[in-house]
Symmetry: C2
Subunit: 98 residues, 2 copies
C-alpha cells in the first residue's frame, strides 16, 4: 500500500481524494481513514512534503509530493516488492499441479 502511495506521488502532486481515485482506477480500494495516518507518518519521516492549495469549490487541499529522501525510499520499496513477487513465483513454480 505504502509502495503504491509513494509510487503515485513520485511524479505528481496529488491530494488525498485524488489518490483514492487513482488507486480505485487500479482496482485498489482504500478509505481515507487509511491514507491520512499514512501520509502524516511519511511526512513526519521527511519522505513526503506538502503545500496547501485552494480549491475552486470547497476547502483548501494538501497536495503531497515526494522528497529526495522519499525517492530513495521508493527505490527500496521497489526492490522489496520485486523480491517478494520473485519469492512467491518461486513458491508457486514448484506447485503448478493443482
Amino acid at each position: 500500500m505504502e509502495f503504491c502511495i509513494v509510487s503515485l506521488l513520485a511524479d505528481e502532486k496529488i491530494y488525498t481524494a485524488e489518490l483514492i481515485d487513482r488507486l480505485k482506477a487500479a482496482n485498489l480500494i482504500v478509505t481515507d481513514g487509511t491514507l491520512y495516518p499514512m501520509l502524516n507518518r511519511l511526512q513526519k519521516g521527511e519522505l513526503l512534503e506538502y503545500h496547501w492549495a485552494e480549491s475552486e469549490s470547497g476547502p483548501p487541499r494538501k497536495y503531497y509530493s515526494l522528497t529526495d529522501k522519499g525517492l530513495t525510499y521508493l527505490n527500496e520499496l521497489d526492490k522489496a516488492w520485486q523480491d517478494i513477487t520473485s519469492s512467491v513465483q518461486t513458491i508457486r513454480r514448484g506447485n503448478q499441479s493443482e
Copy 2:
C-alpha cells in the same frame, strides 16, 4: 504468507520445520511462532488436515495437507494475488519516470 503456505501444502505433506525451510529457500523468512497459529487456524477452518507421523530422531510430527476446501481456497488466493500484482503493475506503469 498464507498464500505461500497453502501453496506449498497443495501437493505435499509437510510439517512445520520443513515449511520454514522451503520458505527460506525462496527468500521468505518466517518464524515458527508465525506458522503454528496460522496452521491451527487453517485447520480449524477445515482448509488443512494433518496426521501424526513418527520421526526417526525425535518427537512425532504433524504433517499437514490440503483439503478439498483448501484447494478451492488456494484458487481464490491465487486469483487475489494476481489481482494485487496486476494492480501494482498498473500503478507502477504510470510512474516509470524516477
